[in-house]
Symmetry: C2
Subunit: 154 residues, 2 copies
Amino acid sequence: MPADQPAFQDVLLPAEKSICWICGHSNPHGLQIKSYWDGEEAICNWDPQPHFTAYPNVMNGGIIASLIDCHCINTAMMTGYQAEEREPGSEPHIVYVTGELKVRYLQATPMDAPVTLRARVTTVDGRKTSVGCSLYSQGEECARGDVLAVRVEL
Amino acid sequence: MPADQPAFQDVLLPAEKSICWICGHSNPHGLQIKSYWDGEEAICNWDPQPHFTAYPNVMNGGIIASLIDCHCINTAMMTGYQAEEREPGSEPHIVYVTGELKVRYLQATPMDAPVTLRARVTTVDGRKTSVGCSLYSQGEECARGDVLAVRVEL
């Protein structure tokens, strides 16, 4: 991954709040995904553990939805700091939650290869940020998601 | 849970295919959720393990999406057998996958109480079955989902 930047998840929230099952660096039972900027897109690579199946050699759709959701929320939070020209993770913390999540499953995602997620902010409207995201396996788009992220106080 | 009926997941698929991370009875690392008929609705109760957090005492949205997805897909499969007046799990197996998943998060779902999902088939159109589902915590609706289930050969 990009050597010149920390992962979003490693700077956005302090340890006591970074407990998200998908991305929290303080959740020892979580997936601890890492997201990075790649130009205007946010990228995340993830290698599935063998139990995250739906059917034989088909990745679970719930995990796909979870990855898209969390990668997009982190992207919305980073974008929030950019808009305020503040250092990510500086206080007061910028926190977003998911208002709505939509995922279209375009084709089966195999289990025997890592996946790559690419997310991009589409609109920012006050407390609401919309983020689109595609999930790829071996260069093929397998799922496409939209997340409506809503800023909250935590 | 209802004592007079087996769980959907215990009859729909044989062991070698029942490997879904959310509901497969052959997945030792999975959640192994169980769904039952309650009149025309399908019901599922689930007690979250403490690591499925988003923020402190807030359930992870990815897990919520995963539960809704899987409970609805099982409901679509059971409905498929009903339509063909066949015993659930009889061959040839009826298998559905998710074409589209949409979840609206209405309020934070607490971690310190079990959740109840209630799903209902809304339309059946050839290979496509639409299922709506609400997730409740202590009687409060916390999330509402729609799943487009698509019948496939496995």
